[in-house]
């Protein structure tokens, strides 16, 4: 066993162990933290494969963005950190079996596959190449998906606003309340100003 193999198995243990714990933990906050470990493990794999750029992006987007968002929503929706209910045994067995059978079948299918070195000339995966291709219109250029994905983000943004905005209670009921709260405050401010002027 050389060092590379050991590192591979260590990283694999982090990723798989973190994933398993995230899926089975009964405290939702712990689940999120284990997910974090798993995602960092994957970033470690990207470093291991000499893809530093994508590793950095993985850390920024997943660890820094998505997990934080998930944590926010956990805080918003789970006030207390009580345990979640255990999943029903039948469901747990069924889903574990389904996943295991799917996994084993696929692995069996592809275990016969042998990889050969690359045949046709391809684009070297360096950060510079990736950046250039993202905006290029020449061969291998990804300008169209790049533009289209911006529309996806626009749609998602509008969607979030439409979904998340609170529906107002009928206006007549709210208006007087606000007035009662705000008017005295304004008066105080005005009085303070007056005294300062004097």
């Amino acid at each position: 066993m050389d060092a590379r193999t050991i590192i591979f198995y260590l990283l694999a243990a982090t990723v798989i162990g973190g994933g398993l714990m995230a899926v089975t933990s009964r405290k939702i906050f712990r689940s999120a933290v284990f997910l974090l470990f798993s995602l960092i493990g994957i970033a470690g794999f990207y470093f291991f494969l000499d893809q530093e750029f994508i590793a950095a992006v993985q850390v920024v987007v997943y660890v820094g963005g998505i997990v934080v968002l998930i944590l926010f929503s956990i805080f918003l929706t789970h006030g207390s950190g009580e345990d979640m209910k255990k999943p029903a045994l039948g469901r747990a067995v069924f889903s574990a079996l389904a996943a295991a059978i799917g996994c084993v079948l696929t692995m069996y299918l592809i275990s016969e596959h042998t990889f050969q070195g690359s045949g046709k000339p391809a684009l070297e995966p360096s950060a510079g190449n990736i950046g250039a291709q993202m905006l290029s219109v020449t061969e291998y250029g990804f300008i169209l998906p790049f533009e289209v994905v911006s529309m996806l983000l626009l749609a998602a943004m509008i969607g979030c606003i439409v979904i998340a905005i609170k529906v107002k209670v009928p206006e007549q009921k709210v208006m007087p309340k606000i007035k009662e709260e705000t008017e005295p405050v304004e008066l105080e401010v005005v009085e303070e100003l007056k005294t300062e002027e004097v």
Binding site: L35, Q58, I66, A122
Partner: protein, 101 residues
Amino acid sequence: MPVNSTHYLFLSLLLFSIGVMGALMRRNAIIIFMCIELMLNAVNLLLVAFSKIYADANAQLFVFFIMVVAAAEVAVGLAIIVMMYRKVHSVDINILNRLKH
């Protein structure tokens, strides 16, 4: 045993299966959501490994698009989950099924 591409394939499939298992097993919307993130990460890992084996940048470009779309999905999904929470004060899917009857 030296590490080769088949190892990455198996690792990523294993992670993917864990995600699938969780999504089928758990009833908490946020946890299901985290399981889906695991599935997407398994895919990303495999794509990057392929990109390294074939020395092809296309696969890595695909990974970036998956990340962008995943981020958009997270935003929409969490907005939906929070909206749901405001109404029933729970993110448990079973409660939803019970409410219907």
